[in-house]
Assembly symmetry: C2
Homo-oligomer: 183 residues x 2
DNA sequence: CCCTGTGGAGAACGCACGTTCTCCGCCTGC
DNA sequence: GCAGGCGGAGAACGTGCGTTCTCCACAGGG
């Protein structure tokens, strides 16, 4: 098996397991049996579990933001695009297996013990925040609005994760609509 | 040492350690040496670590909500009280050792593996949500506003925890002010 | 003075898991 | 056909930790 193929398979398995059960509840052996990549190979590709966790967060980060951006770009109108963010969140929340925000969960689990992981979580949130800032700027809204939209999105993610409901996306969307209108 | 004293000391130590480092990073032996309560006693009081975690979350829940309510009750005017919630959050975020919301962190860490812990997190968030609902009702605001205020507060907590800044409290307060005015 | 029970200190046990090692089959180049 | 090395399976190792057990000091009642 090609090395890059093994890497993808390992990351596929790691993502599903880490996200679904939490990082600490998943052993390297679980990743091995779910991916079919031998332990030896796993440790060649990722010299420690922490590296695998970082790679998981990084790959998921780019995919997550790409999918969000692709969904948003389909909408026309700067304000419509802002609201599209919450529509996309609502779809995400409704997906089977949704268990909250992978980065918030990872931060709760490892943020205190692993600075690399904490740093990746911060980088992801910073990027998302900047994306919302850019959407707000395109809509000609004051700079402060980006931060408010961000807080609504974060609150929706964490609440949807804990309650298992997609409703927070609608609540956040409605709040965003009012904020954009009022600003 | 009296049994109830031992229980309090154990919970004091557990709270500081669990909150500061995460639950899984703290061993029962750490709780023992930090509290001065022997392992035997610890296991008499809390037959398993999970019970200690539950007790930690429960005691912190009542204290957290009492302190919030006490702070809010000092303000006059229904809308002022709503904004006081975010002022209180800002003070909390600025406290030394602040590491985000204990329940969100615990959910990220244990939510997938421990239903009792997940249930306590849900109960805490439900109670906080209902508290905001009651504040919104007293201000004569539409029922939907409570949920929006809740999402802002959750977003602020999680963002303050990850970034280590108290600024999200101000951003959330400003957003809440606009939402209350617009509603 | 002994017997009993309570509680503390810390060793011991069992298990899970991150990481490494051993063994062996198989493929490739001669 | 064969030497050498690459890779897989899984055992082995070390450690950490939840939980229990052992041993002992000591207080109180006969």
């Amino acid at each position: 098996m090609d090395s890059s193929v093994a890497r993808e398979r390992a990351l596929d398995a790691a993502e599903e397991l880490f996200y679904g059960r939490g990082v600490q509840a998943v052993g390297m052996d679980d990743v091995r049996s779910a991916s079919g990549v031998s332990l030896k190979r796993l440790y060649q590709l990722f010299p420690a579990k922490e590296r695998l966790v970082e790679a998981y967060l990084e790959r998921r980060d780019t995919r997550w933001r790409e999918q969000l951006a692709a969904y948003v770009e389909e909408r026309h109108g700067a304000r419509e695009r802002i609201l599209a963010v919450y529509d996309w969140l609502g779809r995400w929340f409704d997906e089977p297996g949704f268990r909250g925000c992978a980065w918030i969960n990872a931060y709760g689990e490892l943020g205190a013990m692993s600075t690399p992981v904490a740093e990746r979580v911060r980088a992801h949130k910073r990027a998302f925040r900047e994306y919302l800032d850019s959407l707000a700027a395109e809509a000609g809204l004051p700079a402060a609005v980006g931060g408010q939209l961000f807080l609504l999105a974060e609150g929706a993610m964490v609440t949807a994760g804990i309650t298992g409901s997609a409703k927070p996306a609608n609540e956040a969307r409605e709040a965003a609509r009012l904020l954009v209108r009022a600003a």
